[in-house]
């Protein structure tokens, strides 16, 4: 998403709007996080009957860019219907596409995801697919026309952090021109720092803030983490070495102490 000129300066933290103790604490948390993009789910609020309008108005009033999602959708057809509804409710072609394939760990259905992605791109959507950390799938999503791809770090809401950093790094290296956002599983600010240090363009969080004991304070912590991680990536992390290398000369040390024993 940062490839778009109008998005270049947006915060690298994206934040969800579910599970907060109250809409007011949600508002204060989002402000504290510094996020410019918020995600919102339509699925359970009976939008066909105008069900969640007031709650969506709160979200619109935040003045942030809205990235609606298809959370909870289990089929291609359902995801496409919710995407179309979201475009109408929020007036944006952006859609965070979720097609859930497994009820226990809410793992995306890779086949359905690709199919829904192709269809929605055909219909003019800017699709942000939520996917597993599978290199081939991420590549196929990029080839289908996604400019942003969102692999998980671990299952949604699990707070397990980056379970497979190897996969995430490989995806980063192989898709250098795609905006990559770590979408699910971030539990603590250090997880976000790691993702950004790796060169990920952003992270998307929700439970990590909403379910913290003090959501507003945790949102501030994440804002700082994302800034630190990005700055570290831009600054260039020094290479790892397999031996100690003192930064001051060890003149006062007898030479035999440095000999291998």
């Amino acid at each position: 998403m940062w490839h778009l000129p109008e998005c270049r300066d947006l915060s690298r933290l994206l934040i969800g709007t579910a599970l907060y103790p109250s809409p007011e604490i949600m508002r204060r948390s989002i402000e504290a996080s510094g996020a410019d993009v918020v995600t919102v789910s339509l699925r359970r609020q009976n939008p066909t009957d105008g069900g969640g309008e007031q709650f969506w108005d709160y979200i619109k009033d935040l003045g942030k860019r809205i990235l609606p999602n298809t959370a909870g959708c289990r089929s291609v057809k359902e995801a496409i219907t919710v995407a179309q509804m979201a475009r109408e409710v929020f007036g944006t072609p952006w859609i965070k596409l979720e097609v859930i394939g497994d009820d226990y760990n809410l793992q995306p259905d890779p086949v359905g995801l690709l199919e829904a992605t192709e269809e929605l791109i055909k219909q003019g959507f800017e699709v942000f697919p939520y996917t597993t950390d599978d290199l081939v799938l991420c590549t196929r999503l990029a080839e289908a026309g996604c400019k942003t791809v969102m692999p998980w770090a671990s299952p949604i809401g699990s707070g397990q952090g980056l379970l497979n950093p190897f996969n995430l790094e490989m995806i980063r290296k192989r898709l250098p021109h795609i905006s990559l956002i770590v979408d699910a599983g971030i539990g603590k600010p250090s997880d976000a720092v790691r993702a950004l240090e790796m060169g990920y363009d952003g992270v998307l969080i929700n439970s990590a803030v909403a379910l913290a004991q003090d959501p507003v304070a945790m949102a501030t912590a994440f804002g700082g983490a994302v800034a630190a991680g990005r700055l570290a990536y831009e600054a260039g992390v020094m290479p790892k070495r397999n031996f100690a290398s003192p930064s001051t000369p060890t003149v006062g040390t007898p030479f035999w102490h440095g000999e291998p024993s």
């Binding site: 103790p21 109250s22 809409p23 007011e24 359970r44 009957d49 069900g51 969640g52 007031q54 004991q213």
Partner: protein, 363 residues
């Protein structure tokens, strides 16, 4: 001559306020779109949980303070009603299935961290649980016991309040929707009434006067479960909202409530029914043969901070935003309203909002 008050809305808050102001010598007139039985009000669907400590998980300490005060007040208030109302204070339990143990631990730390009162939460092992609820001990090795908590039956309370109001000669215009309220003036479809004070207790019915008011959908299931013997409300940890399984008179058990950001008043959905019923069945196998008596849906009136609010102008006081806390805090909220009406210093000053602002005001 006594001062006159017109009250719009005869849900829980409208009824309680009417009775309290009558006792203070006001001449009270009540208006409501519903019948006196109150079966269409949000209060009628409420579960009547009096759980001030457990609410701390999400709510502000103010709710807990009001809730603890209200528990004492309920006992005295229900005693004076002309009909019996099911009300008990044997504490409540919080349990979690094995895979949700971390949620239970997070709940415990959050409640203890935010608790500013002397009310206590106790940790129970299986033996401790067996002493309180022998039928739960086989399935749960651990529980939290929230000592001061209790519950009441709204379906007995609302008619009992109606009876007390009838006995008190309160004028009650039922099936009479209020179309507008203003300082000292209340209008219905075909009449205009003048009062010294107008109170607006219409909840979501007053939506046009509260820009930021929203509905939060709640669904409940009522069962007849003679094989289940519980003595107190049990809260089962759930990733999205608290589910209470709570015993009621005559072998009934109430399960609820869901909490969905929606104004939709349509019938209970399959998913919600499954969640509520499987919560009960996973708690106790005796629910397998229980009968489903009914499912009910209503929407709670809520403000952005999920706290209640009082907005006053001379001659008009608006009460709203009870959210999921109506029964929990009603006596305390009504005490604030009656003190305000009488010109005394009202308790809980944080509830009062300036009338010009409707929301987005952090307090």
């Amino acid at each position: 001559m006594s001062r006159t008050v017109g009250i719009a809305g005869a849900g829980l808050i409208g009824r309680m306020t009417a009775l309290a102001l009558h006792h203070e010598g006001w001449s009270v007139t009540l208006f409501d779109r519903d019948q006196q039985a109150g079966t269409n009000s949000c209060s009628y669907v409420g579960a009547g949980m009096l759980t001030p400590l457990a609410e701390l998980e999400k709510a502000e300490p103010l709710i807990t303070e009001m809730g603890l005060w209200s528990l004492e007040a309920w006992a005295a208030l229900i005693d004076r009603l002309p009909e019996p109302v099911f009300f008990e204070r044997h504490g409540s339990l919080v349990v979690a299935h094995q895979q949700d143990q971390r949620e239970l631990e997070a709940f415990r730390t959050q409640v203890q961290r935010k608790n500013t009162t002397s009310a206590r939460l106790h940790e129970l092992d299986r033996r401790g649980l067996a002493e309180l609820e022998p039928e739960l001990a086989p399935r749960f090795a651990r529980a939290l016991f929230l000592e001061p908590e209790g519950q009441l039956e709204p379906r007995m309370l609302l008619p009992a309040l109606a009876k007390a109001l009838q006995a008190a000669d309160v004028t009650w215009h039922h099936a009479t929707p209020v179309t507008s309220v203003a300082p000292g003036v209340l209008e219905t479809d075909n009449a205009r009434f003048d009062f010294d004070l107008v109170l607006d207790c219409r909840g979501l019915g007053a939506r046009s006067d509260w820009a930021d008011l929203r509905g939060v959908r709640g669904e409940i299931v009522r069962l007849h479960a003679p094989e289940v013997r519980l003595s107190r409300p049990v809260r089962l940890m759930h990733p999205r909202y608290p589910i209470y399984i709570t015993p009621r008179p005559q072998g009934q058990v109430l399960i609820g409530a869901t909490q969905i950001e929606s104004d939709d008043m349509g019938a209970v959905t399959v998913r919600s029914a499954l969640e509520l019923l499987s919560a009960a069945y996973s708690l106790h196998p005796g629910f397998a043969e229980a009968r489903i008596l009914e499912t009910r849906v209503h929407c709670r009136p809520a403000l952005p901070d999920n706290n209640p609010a009082l907005r006053d102008e001379t001659g008009l006081l608006r009460v709203n935003g009870c959210y999921r806390h109506g029964f929990l805090i009603a006596p305390a909220l009504v005490a604030a309203v009656t003190a305000f009406a009488a010109g005394r210093a009202a308790p809980y000053p944080a509830l009062f909002h300036p009338s010009s602002s409707t929301a987005h005001q952090g307090r």
